[in-house]
């Protein structure tokens, strides 16, 4: 009963946030720069939450997430630009192909642990980027023209779906199995949990949403280039998750908002941006090594009410 109520509060809150922003945009109160920043924040939240599933929940240290962002971006762009098909279809296709890429990468590399997995995923991320760099069909290094189709509405719907699906997954039997893999893989194995399966599922699901984010990302610019998806992009996403607190979905959301705002306003000074970024990280690691939220969720702060933001039941 409580859970159901929490869910409705979450839905109403989401509709209100969406409605208010949309009204502000329609009324011209929010200028296009700010509207675009909001879209960008939405995309980054999707990326952060999708990686949170892989790293925060399942404990698989993957640092090639930008590779799946790239797959979603290019596939969706091909579908709208080369085949003139509708945008929602392109988003979905981008997600699906990214998930397939996730399976392809995940099945061999998730046998590895710790540093080895990190290096393998980093390598795969780079391989994906270099593949696009060498395909003339998508423009190679000079990139591919893309129409601007991403709107606040599309972004918000995708964001809503991402958070809802990942939260429900985390709170399900499957989510608990993923957390048990993070907590202690041997014990999970002994419990009869198919740990490899869950690692791969979490990885593919995370890649799917990264692919969706890729579609939004591609159609929010006029051009996409392989250079947009280098390992620095992967690190940006990783930083959201780590800064927010490993295991905290709301933490990664907050970190994504915070850092996107900071970096948007420092856009014109890319060098300063990296310095400030590093300073922020060093400070957080010094004073809050567990991340902004630790493994807690925002909903924990409201006493008993445990909303759908889930995965919060495991830790301090």
């Amino acid at each position: 009963m409580k859970k159901v109520k929490g869910f409705w509060i979450y839905v109403v809150l989401s509709v209100v946030i969406y409605g208010v922003v949309q009204l502000l945009i329609n009324g011209g109160i929010l200028n296009p720069f700010y509207a675009n920043t909001l879209i960008f924040i939405g995309i980054n939240i999707i990326l952060a939450v999708s990686l949170h599933l892989v790293i925060g929940i399942t404990g698989q240290f993957s640092i090639g997430h930008a590779g799946f962002l790239a797959v979603g971006a290019y596939i969706s762009a091909i579908i709208t630009m080369k085949f003139q098909l509708p945008f929602p279809l392109a988003l979905l296709a981008g997600g699906i192909v990214a998930a397939l890429a996730g399976l392809l990468v995940g099945i061999p590399s998730l046998r590895l642990k710790g540093d080895y997995l990190a290096i393998a995923t980093l390598g795969f991320g780079e391989i994906i980027r270099i593949v696009f760099l060498n395909i003339d069909y998508v423009g190679g290094a000079s990139g591919m023209q893309v129409t601007h189709l991403t709107t606040w509405t599309y972004t918000f719907i995708c964001l809503f779906i991402t958070i809802t699906v990942i939260t429900n997954f985390t709170n399900s039997r499957h989510g608990r199995a993923c957390i048990s893999v993070r907590e202690n893989e041997i014990a999970a194995d002994a419990m009869g949990i198919n740990t490899t399966y869950y690692k791969v599922v979490a990885f593919a699901l995370g890649s799917f949403f990264a692919g969706i984010a890729g579609g939004l990302f591609a159609h929010n610019f006029y051009i996409i280039q392989p250079g947009n998806f280098g390992f620095l992009k992967s690190f940006d996403i990783l930083i959201f998750v780590v800064l927010g607190g490993l295991g905290s979905l709301s933490g990664s959301v907050i970190a994504a908002i915070l850092l996107t705002v900071v970096s948007t306003f420092l856009q014109d000074y890319p060098e300063t941006r990296m310095i400030i970024y590093s300073v922020v990280l060093v400070l957080v690691m010094l004073y809050r090594p567990q991340g902004l939220m630790g493994t807690r969720e925002v909903t924990d702060l409201f006493g008993k009410w445990k909303g759908p933001k889930g995965g919060n039941s495991y830790g301090k």
Binding site: R176, A177, E183, A187, A190, M191, G192, G315
Partner: protein, 235 residues
């Protein structure tokens, strides 16, 4: 119930078990004793499907389970409490137990087993909302055992449940092991604490550097001079 015949198990090139054979009858407590590094954990891991034997057979209730994946072995009724407790530290006691029943579909039975575990381990009931990483060593051992019971095993594999525990706690744990056995669960108990293990077991095997070197009724082994010298500190 369980019949292990001549199994060889390797870690890469290193042979950890050499032609090990062992039997467990329904309703028994069988203990496997041996020094550190003898291969005790390796044997349990092989039985529960975490390792695959290179040679030999494992019969369990008329089925061959050698090399089967862990899920199907747990489903068939063998539960393994790994060495060093290994609870899910950032989950509550209750969530740990829930995961023990992960493969079960009979919700009614799971509910009953929750009650059963809390009856066996009243301390876990008091602490059911506590994060299991904050439990004492003995309580974590209780939780690891409770979690294994949640899978409703016919055969329970216990890997050094007394490790690192205070003597009083060891006593408590061992009497609970006997209680679990009386309630109808067959037990294969691995121990370095040979004295305690032999005192509750029906039969025992002694393993040394990967091979079984002695076996027989527990009382007999306990009386044997050789065993006394090697494993009971000449008591």
């Amino acid at each position: 119930m369980l019949k292990v015949h001549q199994i060889d198990v390797f870690y890469g090139n290193i042979q950890a078990l050499k032609g090990v054979s062992l039997e467990v009858q329904e309703g028994e407590i069988v203990t496997l004793i041996g020094a550190n590094g003898a291969g005790k954990s390796t044997l349990l891991k092989t039985l529960s499907g975490l390792l695959k034997p290179k040679k030999g057979t494992i019969q369990y209730l008329e089925n061959s389970i050698a090399g089967k994946p862990a899920q199907s072995i747990v489903k068939a009724g063998i539960s393994h409490v790994p060495e060093g407790r290994r609870v899910f530290a950032n989950m509550t006691v209750e969530e740990n137990l829930q995961l023990g029943a992960y493969l079960r579909k009979d919700l009614q039975g799971v509910k009953q087993d929750f009650e059963r575990v809390y009856e066996l381990f009243p301390r876990l009931l008091e602490r059911k909302k506590q994060l299991s990483g904050t439990l004492s060593g003995g309580e974590q051992q209780m939780l690891a055992m409770g979690r294994a019971i949640m899978a409703k095993p016919k055969l329970l594999l216990l890997d050094e449940p007394s490790m690192g525990l205070a003597p009083l706690m060891v006593k408590t744990i061992f009497s609970i092991i006997e209680e679990i056995n009386r309630a109808g669960t067959t037990i294969l108990l691995v121990e370095q604490n040979a004295h305690m293990a032999l005192s509750i077991a029906n039969r025992a095997y002694v393993i040394e550097t990967g091979s079984v070197v002695a076996s027989g009724p527990a009382a007999e082994l306990q009386a044997s001079e050789q065993i006394k010298e090697a494993y009971l500190g000449g008591l």
